[in-house]
């Protein structure tokens, strides 16, 4: 213990020292007297050189040469603008003094193809040290967090998050509102309207992504709203107003507002295959959508097709199984929304479990004349986590005792609920984390080859991308975490779990994977968890169990990563939305007089100042979460710290890697 604390203190002091040295850098090398000429070649979708480094004070002459089609260039902060057509007689150039230190992106200003909005280069005016500062900060903050959780988060008896909750439904008008049959419809209707505009724009509007309502309002406006507000504050709030299941609901209920026909809950419970009653369908679905994100995010028609598939899927499953089987088990957006909603400070819970236990009719499951039985196939009386509660408010209507509450509560409580967990949920967290990191590289990075891969420029490139993508998501990131957990357990117990035992699932997964391609062959089953045996002989839980438990630390880390990633593209691209309000189809309308608004970046140079704190908060929360989960399973403090040390290392490395990508 003492030793570890000593090491941490040394690390922290080193970090502080580095920050001090970096924050007050010695004056940069004096610039040359002459003008430094830099020629930038532009092709879709890369600048060469993609990284330009100059010294502060230098006079720079930038020349832009277009190699394939017309491109432009605007340099953040400096506001320097260029535009060049291929084989231009007079090259386009500009001269300016690089009098501001830092790293600035330059972006294409002339639509040059689908990935135009992601065509960037990096212009570094030395001295530049944000990355080193961020890395030092990471070490300092992580060290303080690790010491802090031991000092202040050590009491197993104390709740990991404060136990208060404030019942919103105490206000009579809130409960009355939630009990109205029209309530959810009223939320869905405006979204249905926007959705129709989105679909019409996707199929009939301009094929240019940034001139099309569908692309900008789905992938910039809605996505940013989801990541900044709906998920971290509202949990599954968007699910309550999502218009996609509306046609399916109508087909099943034959009614919009009034209580219509309801399929028996057994139809859904028995109908949907038992092996798929988990997040795996959503995990695979999300991965499949992400594999084509290069097309979906840039081609309106691809967005239209994907959204249409969602609607059709929801309608078909509504008819076949009844209820929201689509939302619960299939919708790829629902999967990660559910996982991240565990962090949100709102919840729907039973007020008094005793009342539910004594209520024999269980109208919240079967439905009553006032409302449908839980469309998400939950038992609302037993809700402990937000993960699968779609906030549709039906249980407020069906509960005759008014025993359901909408609560405001502290952030993150569900991360410490130990029932209902599974490796499927942990994997969802890893997939989200991996996708965030990959997307940052593909969409925010300067590497044209990554954009070519995601854009399916050639089939071999795309295949390489797909394999790397799937491996990163399913093997590398979770695998490294698994190894970290394995090492930690070995260190704590003083002997490593033999690899043959720790990785015994690998051949099973592999054989199951092979069995997918052979008809009539079924893969071997997974052995049952033997955790209790291990607990009894005072060791740590088996590696697989520890992986599933510690894995929930990825949820706050991944959410922070997504918010930080979204900040970057939202500030840069959100202004595309302004002309689209007036001209949603890209047909040359001007409904509100904003059609000619130009694209501008909002404070792009401040992006790192949002990203660094967001990511550091995510890291601290992740450290706290995994520590508290550890306390729950391991009572010996020494063993706990040893088993967590590699996990802490993993969290710190991910944070550092994130900073390397964005700074």
């Amino acid at each position: 213990m003492k030793k570890l604390r000593g090491v941490l203190l040394v690390l922290i002091s080193l970090g502080v020292l580095t920050i001090c040295l970096l924050a007050f850098p010695s004056a940069g090398k004096a610039g040359n007297d002459g003008v430094r000429e830099i020629v930038i070649h532009a092709r879709a979708f890369e600048y060469t050189p993609r990284l330009i480094t100059v010294q502060k004070g230098e006079t720079i002459k930038l020349t832009l040469i277009a190699d394939d089609v017309t491109h432009g260039l605007v340099l953040e902060k400096y506001g320097v603008k260029l535009e060049a057509s291929p084989r231009a007689e007079v090259p386009s150039s500009v001269t300016f003094v690089a009098n501001e230190g830092g790293k600035f992106h330059f972006r294409c200003t002339v639509v040059c193809g689908p990935f135009h909005a992601f065509m960037v280069g990096e212009f570094v005016v030395e001295p530049y040290n944000k990355l080193s500062i961020a890395w030092s900060l990471t070490l300092v903050v992580a060290g303080m967090a690790i010491i802090g959780v031991q000092r202040y988060g050590d009491n197993k008896e104390k709740d990991p998050v404060p136990s208060w909750s404030f019942e919103l439904t105490k206000f009579k008008w809130v409960r009355t509102l939630l009990k109205q049959r029209w309530f959810q419809f009223a939320l869905m209707l405006p979204n249905a309207f926007f959705f129709v505009v989105i679909l019409v724009a996707a199929f009939f509007g301009s094929p240019i992504g940034n001139a099309n309502f569908a692309i900008i309002f789905v992938w910039i406006v809605w996505w940013a709203a989801l990541k900044f507000f709906f998920i971290p504050i509202g949990g599954r709030l968007f699910c309550s107003m999502c218009p996609l299941p509306l046609p399916g609901d109508w087909l099943e209920h034959k009614a919009l507002v009034k209580k219509g026909h309801e399929s028996p809950v057994s139809k859904a419970r028995k109908g949907w295959p038992k092996g798929l009653r988990n997040l795996w369908t959503q995990n695979i679905g999300f991965l499949s959508v992400c594999l084509f994100s290069g097309l979906i995010l840039t081609r309106p028609i691809a967005t239209g097709i994907v959204l249409s598939l969602f609607i059709i899927g929801a309608a078909v499953t509504s008819v076949k199984y009844g209820r929201r089987v689509f939302c619960r088990y299939i919708c790829p957006v629902s999967g990660f929304t559910g996982m991240y909603s565990m962090v949100a400070p709102v919840e729907i819970r039973a007020i008094d479990p005793q009342v539910c236990a004594e209520h024999t009719d269980k109208t919240c499951i079967t439905g009553s004349e006032d409302g449908y039985g839980c469309p998400w196939l939950n038992y609302p009386g037993g809700l402990e986590r937000n993960s699968y509660c779609g906030m549709c408010t039906e249980c407020f209507k069906t509960c005759p005792e008014d025993n359901i509450a909408l609560n405001i509560r502290p952030f993150g409580r569900d991360l410490f609920v130990y029932s209902g967990r599974g490796v499927d949920e942990v994997y969802n967290g890893f997939i989200m984390l991996a996708c965030a990191l990959i997307y940052i590289a593909v969409f925010l990075g300067p590497w044209g080859v990554l954009k070519d891969m995601a854009n399916i420029a050639t089939v071999p490139l795309y295949l390489a991308y797909a394999v790397a993508f799937i491996l990163t998501n399913l093997v590398i990131l979770p695998g490294l975490f698994y190894v970290a957990v394995w090492l930690g357990k070995g260190w704590a117990e003083g002997k490593m779990t033999p690899a043959k035992e720790a990785f015994n699932f690998v051949p099973i997964v592999w054989q199951n994977f092979l069995a997918l391609f052979k008809k009539g062959v079924k893969g071997p089953k997974f052995p049952k968890n033997k955790s209790n045996v291990h607990l009894m002989d005072m060791g740590l839980p088996p590696v697989q169990k520890l992986f599933t438990e510690y894995g929930y630390t990825i949820i706050p880390l991944g959410l922070a990563g997504w918010i930080a990633f979204t900040v970057a593209f939202a500030l840069v691209d959100i202004s595309y939305a302004i002309p689209l309000l007036s001209d949603p189809m890209g047909w040359g309308w001007d409904l509100f007089g904003t059609a000619s608004a130009e694209w501008v970046m909002y404070v792009p140079h401040l992006v790192p100042f949002f990203q660094i704190p967001i990511m550091l908060v995510g890291m601290v929360v992740a450290i706290y979460v995994v520590y508290r989960i550890g306390i729950h399973h391991i009572s010996n403090k020494k063993m706990l710290l040893k088993s967590l040390a590699p996990v802490f290392f993993y969290i710190i490395m991910i944070t550092g890697f994130f900073f390397w990508l964005v700074l």
Binding site: A44, A66, D68, V69, T70, S85, P86, R87, V110, V111, C112, G113, R181, W182, F185, L189, A192, F193, V196, V197, V200, S206, P207, I208, N210, A211, L246, A255, L256, V257, K258, P584, M585, G586, W587, G588, W589
Partner: protein, 128 residues
């Protein structure tokens, strides 16, 4: 309840059918008022400028409303010495002129827009 249900149905139909119909009717009305002929420029690979053949009357001022569906193009009618400003994707460029001669004339693109840039062309037919 019955009223609410009917009302909800009407609102939803308005949101779905009304919005869709509204979008196309509005565009239709705008198009009828437009004096300019819309041409979508596309690279040769993407199908060339659409519509590709345009009829205009002789000795009357004609106007073209140009946009691009892929990358930057430029409109050039060599026989009349007419050049447009660059046609950027998602934006509109206007060019007008008065033909003084009937016949078939080719228009071409004057900005390199793809490897097959030189094959980008369309036809303007000046009717008598």
């Amino acid at each position: 309840m019955k009223f609410t249900e009917t009302f909800a149905n009407v609102l939803l139909i308005l949101a779905i059918v009304g919005t869709t119909a509204g979008i196309f009717l509005y565009e239709n009305a705008l198009e009828n008022d437009r004096e300019c002929i819309t041409i979508h420029f596309r690279t040769y690979e993407n199908g060339n400028p659409t519509p590709n053949v345009v009829h205009i009357p002789n000795n009357e001022k004609s106007c073209f409303r140009l946009t691009s569906d892929d990358t930057t193009h430029m409109f050039n009618l060599p026989d009349f010495g007419i050049y447009s400003e660059p046609i950027h994707p998602g934006k509109w460029t206007y060019v007008d002129f008065t033909p003084e001669e009937a016949g078939e004339f080719s228009f071409v693109c004057t900005v390199v827009c793809s490897p097959l840039h030189s094959k980008v062309r369309g036809k303007i037919i000046v009717d008598n």
